[in-house]
């Protein structure tokens, strides 16, 4: 038993004591053990270079990491893109200023109420545009055509037309802007008209009119535009504008024969009956008319 322990110790590369060494040397198999141990070296494994082998394996292990990196970066880009798309969507949903347009066709009238309860009545073939956002802070409305405003009290209220700007503070007034023709009638309160860098103030019952660039002032005793009650009233207005208004109200085409369209006309016509209306505008001017479908011809008798 002691012998075996000594052999174990020797095999474990431990230093033997003098006694143990002596005992070991007297053992039966000592010479054989030594020879076996010595000759084992002849069976040594081939040389193995760790750095060399590591270099070889790196060719296989490198791409692995790259793949995992590229997939994660694509994912990252997708995430960023998704946030951008979401943001753009939110912007258009919540922050974009929506413009509201209201318009009328020939022989049509319409009323609309603005966010602050201001009433707007549109005559035929007219349109208004305004932005709903911040309306109470910034009351601006674009007008093309003819409209009557009953403005709620509040901050300044601008009506912007291609001819000029009308600025008021809680009042009732009508604006008519047609080709070569711009007219503002104040029915209540005070209206300020900005026309070609000049400011005019209109008290209640005043009319501000520009015909072909010529400014004129007059007065009215009406409290509302007549067209609201389906009647067009004119006061010393060139005849051509009466005819154009007539065309808008009845959707007809008027041609004239040798008639001076610059003659002034005072009178009115109704919007409900074309025969009566035609008589209203021809008899005072000593004219006669012929009607053929949507075509009306005016002539001297």
């Amino acid at each position: 038993m002691k012998e075996e322990e000594i052999i174990h110790k020797w095999l474990d590369h431990e230093e033997l004591t003098k006694e143990e060494l002596e005992a070991f040397q007297h053992m039966e198999g000592y010479a054989s053990f030594m020879k076996i141990s010595e000759n084992a070296r002849t069976f040594k494994s081939p040389t193995y270079s760790i750095p060399e082998e590591l270099e070889k394996i790196k060719a296989y292990t490198k791409p692995h990491k790259k793949v995992s990196f590229s997939t994660s970066s694509i994912r990252m880009i997708m995430r960023i893109a998704a946030i951008f798309i979401l943001g753009i969507g939110m912007y258009f949903t919540f922050f974009n200023e929506s413009t509201i347009t209201k318009q009328t066709l020939i022989s049509e009238k319409a009323s609309t109420t603005l966010p602050d309860q201001t009433m707007v009545t549109l005559n035929s073939l007219s349109s208004v545009r305004y932005k709903e956002k911040d309306w109470d802070e910034n009351r601006k409305i674009e007008l093309d055509g003819e409209a009557y405003f009953k403005v709620a009290k509040g901050k300044k209220f601008d009506v912007i037309t291609s001819a000029g700007i009308v600025r008021v503070l809680g009042t009732q007034f009508a604006v008519k802007q047609r080709k070569d023709y711009f007219e503002v009638i104040c029915y209540e309160g005070l209206v300020r008209v900005l026309y070609k860098n000049k400011t005019s103030e209109l008290p209640a019952g005043s009319i501000f009119r520009v015909v072909k660039g010529e400014v004129s002032n007059s007065t009215t005793s009406f409290t509302k535009p007549s067209w609201i009650k389906n009647r067009s009233v004119f006061n010393s207005t060139p005849y051509r504008y009466i005819l154009r208004e007539f065309e808008r109200q009845y959707n007809v085409k008027i041609t004239t024969k040798n008639i001076d369209q610059d003659k002034l006309f005072t009178g009115n016509f109704v919007h409900s009956d074309i025969q009566t209306a035609l008589q209203s505008i021809t008899i005072p001017m000593r004219l006669e008319y012929k009607m053929n479908d949507n075509h009306v011809t005016l002539y001297h008798p």
């Binding site: 590369h13 076996i36 141990s37 070296r41 002849t42 069976f43 040594k44 081939p46 760790i50 394996i57």
Partner: protein
């Protein structure tokens, strides 16, 4: 038991360290176990590549046993249809200078016997014995490499040298 700092071995630096630590032992283990006709270098490479491909699933603690198991299995798969033939490379003794023909013949005969005796050892005995005698490893180190107890290593090596002595001396 302290918790492992790394739950996988995907880190390249960690992988290199593992290679430096285990590659040589793994190579020797395969070589002494199966002999020269198995390309031990190749098996080491394959085992480490497998480790890298599966790095997500393997904690650092399990890496060594994974490598040894995989290398062993790869080698066994290759040998499946061959009977294991053990042949060891012979290296001339550089330290022996007195070379009379008789001695050389004797020496050659002895090594032949040695070779046959080694082939008759069990794989377990052979690996432990050669790691001990050739690579100069202590029992404790071999126990770590093979994942067995120190006592078992002692037994295998002692068994191996006794068996070799009997084989060589008898004939």
């Amino acid at each position: 038991m302290p918790k492992d700092l790394f739950d996988n071995v995907c880190e390249e630096k960690l992988f290199s360290e593992l290679f430096q630590k285990h590659a040589k032992n793994l190579h020797d283990f395969i070589y002494y176990k199966y002999g020269e006709h198995v390309d031990a270098k190749d098996k080491v490479q394959e085992a480490f590549i497998k480790l890298w491909d599966n790095c997500q699933k393997i904690p650092l603690q399990k890496a060594k046993s994974f490598l040894f198991t995989v290398a062993n299995n790869i080698t066994l798969n290759e040998l499946k249809h061959n009977t294991v033939k053990l042949k060891y490379q012979q290296i001339a003794h550089p330290y022996k200078t007195n070379e009379n023909p008789e001695f050389i013949l004797e020496e050659k005969e002895y090594l032949q016997k040695y070779q046959n005796a080694l082939a008759k050892l069990t794989e377990a005995q052979r690996v432990a014995f050669l790691l001990n005698r050739i690579e100069g490893k202590k029992h404790k180190e071999i126990a770590e490499i093979l994942n067995i107890s120190r006592k078992a290593v002692e037994k295998r090596i002692y068994g191996a040298i006794e068996k070799l002595r009997k084989e060589i001396d008898r004939i």
